[in-house]
């Protein structure tokens, strides 16, 4: 594992030693009960009767979550309840972007990089299938997983489109809200035991891709529409720099409120100074609540 890579964040992360120590510990599995199909207490008690030890986390009234402290199977998906769609195995930090988006019944929501569907199905759950979710992904194998998860979780409000999300024909000005959980250098997946390739070159390439996706999101949104932009990486080049770019093409940054602890966005990095409103970005670091890592910005498209 390339832990040295994270030294570049020594100056922007408080309690850096705790951050580094935490990266070396594998994150615990967590689950989200599917409120479309069952009462969360019934789902959790069914698992507890089978020997799961759960620590419940009330993230949101419609996103009942639990951390798995112990379980009698190797993987938390090896239960009948999982295949009945009663829960989704999803890291706690990954549940936060849909909560920051605050989707409402009746809205048209575009999930730009949707596969494998954890956040798509969570949005469907928050709106209780009353609205339209257009889920886009460019990868055929990942689309298969996305469709499978949508069917299992009974997300009847989701239509899946197979295309590169940068191609927006037919979707211009359609969305009340957009979730752009962007492809990124995936630094925080190191806590899942993934030996992810990390380099400044990858970060630069991802930043360029993210900016083109931001331009597409701008075309898809209605005036005054809301976008939540998130990555599972800590690099300011893929977060604050991309949000600074978004401000320049017609977005303003809103404050993010989350049910877990986080720190503010950074205004300066490697000699660059960003717009001061990037402080409204939420940086969820793994050591704050023993979760994965995620960085979340909430942006409003400014009317012409």
């Amino acid at each position: 594992m390339n832990y040295e890579h994270f030294e570049r964040y020594r100056d922007i992360i408080d309690d850096f030693h705790a951050f580094m120590d935490c990266l070396k510990r594998q994150v615990k599995y967590s689950i989200r009960a599917n409120t479309i199909l069952a009462k969360p207490e019934d789902v959790f008690s069914a698992l507890e009767e089978k020997g799961f030890v759960l620590r419940k986390i009330p993230l949101h009234p419609r996103v009942p979550a639990a951390v798995i402290e112990d379980m009698p199977v190797k993987h938390p998906g090896a239960t009948m309840e999982h295949f009945l769609g009663l829960y989704y195995v999803q890291e706690l930090a990954s549940m936060l972007p849909p909560i920051a988006l605050s989707p409402k019944s009746g809205e048209i929501i575009v999930d730009m990089c949707a596969a494998p569907g954890s956040k798509t199905t969570e949005i469907a759950q928050i709106i209780q299938n009353e609205g339209t979710i257009i889920a886009i992904d460019s990868s055929a194998p990942r689309i298969k997983a996305l469709v499978s998860n949508i069917q299992r979780m009974c997300s009847s409000s989701v239509v899946v489109i197979h295309r590169d999300a940068r191609y927006t024909k037919g979707l211009e000005g359609i969305a009340d809200k957009v979730l752009l959980d962007a492809p990124c250098s995936s630094e925080s997946t190191i806590r899942k035991g993934v030996d992810v390739k990390l380099s400044e070159d990858i970060i630069r390439k991802m930043s360029a891709l993210q900016k083109s996706l931001i331009r597409a999101a701008h075309r898809i949104l209605k005036d005054d529409g809301i976008m939540v932009y998130s990555t599972c990486t800590f690099a300011p080049e893929e977060n604050e720099e991309v949000v600074d770019y978004a401000i320049n093409i017609g977005f303003e940054v809103e404050k993010v409120f989350l049910p877990l602890r986080y720190e503010n966005g950074v205004e300066e990095w490697n000699g660059k100074t960003y717009d001061s409103s990037v402080r409204n970005i939420a940086r969820v670091y793994p050591h704050l609540d023993d979760t994965g890592g995620i960085v979340i910005a909430r942006l409003r498209k400014v009317s012409d």
């Binding site: 069914a46 090896a78 769609g85 339209t132 469709v147 299992r152 409000s157 989701v158 239509v159 197979h162």
Partner: protein
């Protein structure tokens, strides 16, 4: 196009208020049930695959798990002892008066689709959902 809403009302006693939330769209031998408002020109999936069209109209396990809790007839309740066998794809005994597709459930959760014939409940659970020995 067949009236799928009418089928759900007549076969399972689901209220019109519930079934009218879905827009049914046929494509090939599948019927999709969608609660959204906008249907793009090209799509991979549209809500939930609700029926398969063959010799008859077969409701899917996924769709029944979504609407099964609203059903008032042609529902079979299983005991805890029976659940795993049904989920393994095995047949069970059922009320001989039942015939055709049924919603199979426990007191808390919907399991999926079954077919009753001559006092026998045949599991219609798709292979990908069938209980495996490594599961609990």
């Amino acid at each position: 196009m067949r009236d799928y809403a009418k089928y759900l009302i007549e076969r399972f006693g689901i209220s019109e208020e519930i079934v009218r939330k879905f827009k049914f769209v046929e494509r090939g031998r599948s019927v999709w049930a969608f609660t959204g408002k906008i249907i793009p020109n090209k799509w991979e999936s549209l809500g939930i695959r609700a029926f398969r069209i063959g010799k008859d109209i077969k409701p899917t396990t996924d769709f029944l798990r979504l609407i099964g809790r609203y059903a008032t007839k042609n529902v079979v309740f299983l005991s805890n002892d029976e659940v795993n066998n049904f989920m393994r794809g095995e047949s069970l005994k059922c009320n001989g008066k039942l015939h055709g597709y049924v919603i199979v459930r426990t007191d808390k959760f919907i399991l999926g689709c079954g077919f009753c014939k001559d006092g026998k409940l045949i599991s219609m659970i798709p292979k990908r959902y069938r209980f495996q020995d490594t599961w609990i």
